[in-house]
Amino acid sequence: MILAKVIGTVVTTISHPHYKNRRLLVVQPLVCEGDNTDEDFIALDNTHAGIGDTVLVNREGNGARQVLKNPDACVISVIVGIIDSVHVE
């Protein structure tokens, strides 16, 4: 799982049935100092996160299928938590 920041929303009226009635958000991973911040990807929202929230993202299909309780879901990235605080040594 990774820490990421929600930076955008995606609206799709035509989508795969597994994505119906769920929100897609654009997220950018948080990085350590000196690392490239340019990466971004799309994640399915499972926690009612919004733009500006720091979130926990599961980027693995099997975990996503467990979260969505659908053994056939074609979802890889799913937001599974909203981060309150982080402590880095």
Binding site: I7, G8, V10, I14, L24, V26, D53, G61, I76
Partner: protein, 106 residues
């Protein structure tokens, strides 16, 4: 999961069993600013997208799971949604660098 812009269609008459009837599209992966990332790729389509459409794509095993009915399909990129609206805040709006020590995000 990533964005892709449809650039055209791919047709192949000889293909491996399981992929018959699948619509193949040539797509360019793009980032949040809709700038091209990497080379053109071929994706299987389940949402009837057309050239010029901005789509949401899914990679790896989940692409095979996106196919209707058929299960073991040798597909590694699938289009699973057509983007109607995309709202992304400009770069620099949020600080993406984690600082040492405690940081509160609420």
């Amino acid at each position: 999961m990533l964005f892709g812009r449809v650039h055209g269609t791919a047709v192949c008459t000889m293909k491996i069993a399981g992929t018959e009837g699948l619509k193949l599209l040539v797509v360019q992966p793009v980032n949040r600013k809709l700038e091209p990332v990497g080379a053109l790729q071929v994706a299987a389509d389940v949402v009837q997208a057309g050239p010029g459409d901005l789509c949401v794509m899914v990679r790896s095993r989940e692409a095979a799971l996106a196919m209707p009915e058929i299960r073991f399909v040798p597909v590694d990129l699938a289009l699973i949604g057509i983007v109607d609206e995309l709202h992304v805040l400009p770069d620099g709006t949020f600080d993406l660098v984690m600082k040492k020590g405690s940081t509160s995000y609420t």
